[in-house]
Amino acid sequence: MAFMQRAVMVAVLISIITPMIGNVIVLKRLSTIGDALSHAGLAGVAIGLCFGADPVISAVIMSIAAALIIEFIRRKFEGYAEMATAVTLSFAVGMTAVFSGFVKDAASFNSFLFGSIVAISQTELYVTVILCLVVLAAGILLYRALFFITFDEQGAKAAGIPVGAVNTVFTLMTAVVVAVASRTVGALLISSLMIIPVACSMIVSKSYLGNLIMSVVFALIFTITGLIITALYDVRPGGTIVLTGIAVLIALLPFKKR
């Protein structure tokens, strides 16, 4: 497959699943979790490059570890979940700062910072496709459970939903998506791809399901517009996609009712 086709396909798949995750984390008031996990992923990349391990694998491991730490701290401070992500983010940035100092191959590290959507290998395409299908299936199957938990965790418990298990599955899913998507859209941008489409969607949507669908639509619009601009003007794709999203959000903000 030609590289541009691969790039478009991966970008489209990622923009379908990131807002699905984003919806839950925004509504749970954990918006910064993407940043914490992607920086933990970066720390993993730095560690991997230092010790000669596969950076993608060490990124996934670090991202999962960070996700579990966040879930652990979050349970200790109910209602102040953002503290858990802030603590983990600082930890990850610290680790990245220390280990990236030992990385010889700066170009390879940079490709994780801003992504390399147009340089995706066949294997990475397969991994992304499988991952997207898994997240899509989980998102559809766990729709009601995740909706209930984000709205009212105690009510969900009373109704017999296995809240702990669903939360853990969701956290792992988030970590894997963040780590893998960092490779393509970049660690610094993945969080915005989770949050901005949801922010736009919350301005226009009139139901939970509508919010979910509209956030995916927005993400697709940003990604495709971003890729077209990239092709026309030879700019970096990741940043262009995010800036397109920000432009749309700014345009929509006046319509937000208080």
């Binding site: 009212d152 105690q154 009373a158 017999g160 296995p162 919350m202 009139k206 139901s207 399901l209």
Partner: protein
């Protein structure tokens, strides 16, 4: 038959003993009001029954099953004291929220079918909120939101309904209509356990009253005796007033 049995229940938070050897039973079809001053542990009692908290000692049985092994989640429903404390911008409609209440009757992955949607519409109808089905929950008034939460509890057609101060912040007329609704549901066989400070509007629908005192002990009296006591205290009070 007793559908809820609480036996020698003890519970403390790290710094404070809350419930002290509390025992009582609720029979099928009972309407029990739980009363007591602020901070005596009424909400805590409901949280223990529902399994959110674990007791220090004692047992709780729902439909004859220890509450930590209880699996018929659709048989019980709960309206919490903080039901309306969600984020105002949460994007969900009243009918979507009510639909969540069917979770206790559905397996984890199951979607709502047409029959379920009819149940949702019926539950909204029952609390007089049919016209608001498609409205965002955050755009409703506090009292309207509370009705939606009651609908969410009723939609699974539970056998026992737990409510924690469901009439707080609701206008007098709506309080009456909710209490009448609860009374009517109770006549049709629903067992109700309700924490309330607004005993005067509920007592005529209730069968029993559980009074929890400052030391965490409880006394169970019939609603009839409770009213008689109340009248007695009131009459004595007014005698003094007359002197």
């Amino acid at each position: 038959m007793s559908v809820l049995t609480v036996d020698k229940l003890n519970f403390s938070y790290p710094d404070k003993k809350i419930l002290n050897d509390l025992s009582f039973a609720v029979d099928e079809g009972d309407f029990l009001c739980v009363v007591g001053t602020n901070g005596t542990g009424k909400s805590t009692l409901l949280k223990l029954i529902l399994g959110f908290l674990a007791p220090d000692s004692g047992s709780i049985q729902i439909e004859g099953v220890p509450n930590d092994k209880f699996k018929n989640h659709g048989d019980i429903a709960y309206v919490s004291q903080k039901a309306t404390a969600f984020n105002r911008d949460f994007p969900a409609t009243a009918e979507e929220i009510v639909g969540l209440g069917l979770s206790g009757r559905l397996s984890l992955f199951k979607k709502l079918n047409a029959a379920n949607k009819a149940q949702v519409a019926e539950a909204l109808e029952r609390v007089g909120m049919s016209g608001y089905a498609k409205k965002l929950i955050g755009r409703l008034s506090g009292g309207q939101q509370q009705r939606v939460f009651i609908a969410r509890a009723l939609v699974s057609q539970p056998r026992i309904l737990f409510l924690d101060e469901p009439t707080v912040g609701i206008d007098a007329e709506a309080v009456d209509s909710i209490c009448c609704l609860l009374g009517e549901l109770n006549k049709n066989g629903l067992t109700i356990v309700m924490v309330t400070h607004d005993i005067s509007s509920t007592i005529y629908h209730a069968d029993k009253v559980l009074k929890i005192s400052e030391n965490g002990c409880g006394t169970l009296v019939s609603a009839h005796d409770y009213i008689a006591d109340f009248r007695f205290a009131h009459d004595r009070g007014s005698e003094h007033g007359n002197i």
